[in-house]
């Protein structure tokens, strides 16, 4: 069924279709319409779930952690400082290997306060052990939520579905709502490896020691470091799981979404601009304008940020002359986080072959705190890079008025 709704409602419809058992959330702009809609689904009986209106984001994820440990499919959503308030719980959920799904309506973080969009909130949570998906439009939001539960439960790793606050969360667009029967076919009921149960008592998330230790049967049990290694290995393997989920999703729903990189006019491109989220769609307009000027620009939209599909990225950029990484976030004191990751991926995979083929790479920071991103500014920023006249300072900023 095709509907015209907001990005937040697209996310809510996805959660409903996935039959989440427990939803806990605390209000924060611009996430609120999503959780308002879920509370309406639950109160009206359209959705059979427990909705817990908690007193903080820390508790929202606390509820989800415990509900997931008890065998329920759990969901929460937040933005900006709400996500930062969850920081400890993010590590806990991943360390406890709980397949929780969370939507993040991306917003800049304080101080000073801003309610407008950038991606500093979720990108600064990169190392918490969560899989991170970025959606560029409403169709991708609802599809990503459904895929997220599948990937989370296959990998026992929590998944964050990120989409731009206001730009996507509050705008209305047409999108296809998948059929419930097909979602049920795609996403089987959650069958946890262990759920808290008095008939099978276990002590979860116990204190570990630096070394491995024997259990009562004399078998060696993992220590803290082994558990961390396994999380990392399973994260790396999750790249394939995300790919497989995307393929299955396309088969079941006759869809054509991509799992890692959505490419626009990249095949013959000399230069490629890379971005995540709605910015990538904006950049397509820039590619068309510059192509009219004879500059062969392509656009890559990265969907999966963690685990980082480094090989896919390096292969996609192979043979290109230049790469321009456009980011709504910054690692203060260095560069945009995606820029660093792409540099690392290019270098790592170039070492397999020869370093000589590496494209040059530029980094632009833009749109922080919702600063307007004008097409003309994008064109003026990207054109000189493709014509050999770019400033060498990295990263460069677009739209600054100092």
């Amino acid at each position: 069924m095709k509907v015209i709704e907001s990005g937040n409602v697209a996310a809510a419809l996805g959660v409903k279709l996935c039959r989440a058992n427990v939803i806990a959330a605390y209000p924060i702009t611009p996430q609120t319409p999503l959780t308002e809609k879920l509370s309406e689904f639950v109160e009206s009986g359209q959705m059979k779930a427990e909705y817990i209106p908690v007193e903080s984001e820390h508790s929202a994820l606390g509820v989800c952690i415990a509900a997931s440990s008890t065998g329920a499919r759990a969901f929460t959503a937040t933005s900006a400082n709400g996500l930062l308030y969850m920081h400890e719980q993010l590590h806990w959920a991943a360390g406890a290997r709980l397949p929780i799904v969370m939507c993040v309506a991306n917003r800049g973080v304080g101080a000073p306060w801003t309610v407008w969009n950038d991606q500093q909130d979720s990108l600064s949570q990169r190392d918490t052990g969560w899989i991170q998906l970025y959606a560029a439009d409403h169709q991708e939001i609802i599809d990503s939520v459904i895929k997220a539960f599948y990937v989370a439960e296959r990998t026992s790793i929590p998944v964050m579905v990120c989409y731009d606050g206001y730009i996507l969360s509050h705008t209305h667009m047409p999108f296809e709502v998948p059929d419930q029967e097909k979602v049920d076919a795609f996403l089987p009921p959650f069958r946890p490896g262990y759920a808290l149960d008095p008939d099978k008592p276990a002590n979860l998330n116990t204190v570990t020691l630096p070394e491995t230790r024997n259990n009562i049967r004399g078998e060696t049990a993992h220590g803290y470091m082994e558990l961390r290694y396994l999380l990392h290995e399973d994260m790396r393997n999750a790249i394939d799981v995300v790919g497989e989920a995307g393929q299955r999703f396309n088969d079941v729903f006759s869809s054509s979404g991509t799992a890692y990189l959505d490419m626009y006019k990249c095949d013959d491109a000399t230069f490629v601009a890379v971005a995540m989220g709605s910015l990538s769609l904006h950049l397509r307009v820039v590619a068309d304008i510059l192509r009219d000027e004879g500059i062969k620009l392509g656009i890559m939209d990265l969907k999966l940020y963690r685990p980082f599909p480094d090989k896919v990225m390096a292969d996609a950029l192979k043979g290109k002359e230049g790469v321009i990484v456009m980011e709504k976030a910054i690692s203060y004191g260095y560069a945009g986080p995606l820029y660093s990751d792409i540099c690392s991926a290019l270098y790592t995979h170039a070492m397999d072959e020869s370093l000589g083929d590496l494209p040059f790479i530029y980094n632009y920071i833009l749109g922080l705190g919702g600063r307007a991103i004008r097409t003309t500014d994008l064109v003026d920023a990207i054109r000189p890079i493709c014509t050999g006249g770019a400033a060498k300072d990295q990263p460069a900023w677009i739209g600054l008025k100092l």
Binding site: N21, G62, I65, A72, L204, V207, A221
Partner: protein, 301 residues
Amino acid sequence: MQSKPTILTLPEEEFVHPGNRACSGCGLGIAYRIGLKALGKDTIVVVPPSCLTVLQGLYPVAATKLPSLNVTFASTAAAASGVLAALKSLGREGITVVGWAGDGGTSDIGLQSLSGAAERGEDFIYICYDNEGYMNTGVQRSGTTPMGALTTNTPIFGKAQDKKNVPAIMRAHEIPYVATSCSAYPLDLFTKIEKAKTIRGTKYIHILTPCPPGWGYDPRYTVKVGKLAVETGMYDLYEVENGEFKLTGASRKLLDKRKLLPVEAYLKMQTRFKTMRDEHIKQVQDRINKRWDAYFERFKE
């Protein structure tokens, strides 16, 4: 509910293994053992970092025979809410959910989530075992450390502020059941937990659990120190059921006797109070007298 329990009628089944990692003379050790007997097998326990985390054992060994979820420090009551929500949504009935936290995890870092859960009326039992400080991290002051107590971060003059009255905070939430108990009175504790199990809504039980290394007394005196806390009127045993307050057990007996032991007997047993001067002890005694005079007045037959 059973008739009044005696030491002979307590359930024989143990849910805490002997030889666990509690210190010798640990008041929590007594309270946890008796508390789990009252809770019974069909229970899920939620535990934040505290001495109880250590008592419960180091991976892959567990000292408790009940399913137990270790959670972050501030989220005990939120996590208990999550367990409840999951059980409800999955149609699993007949399981008691218990949050069992220390005084720091309750009165300080965990108060927000506890207040939120109580306001929502979450149907669990929250138990705070109060050893009056951050004992697991090496005896630092907490919100419930009493005035005058030396701790490792009030090392010279002792804590300057009064003990935070967490049961009173919980009473203000108008939950159906608030009770205090002490590990020196295991049957009192057993009775109160058994009663809490029969009540719907949020139940709060505050247990004073003397701590030999943190309070500075010989481990053999854990019961004696606990009893003195009650018999001197320093710590009261009571229940507030649907808003109705009544003194219980040993405190109720004090009401009948109309006589308290001098608080000095309690304070002098513990090295944590060794720097309290006579005028401070008198202040403490005066406040106890004032509170108990009000009880005597209010509850005269």
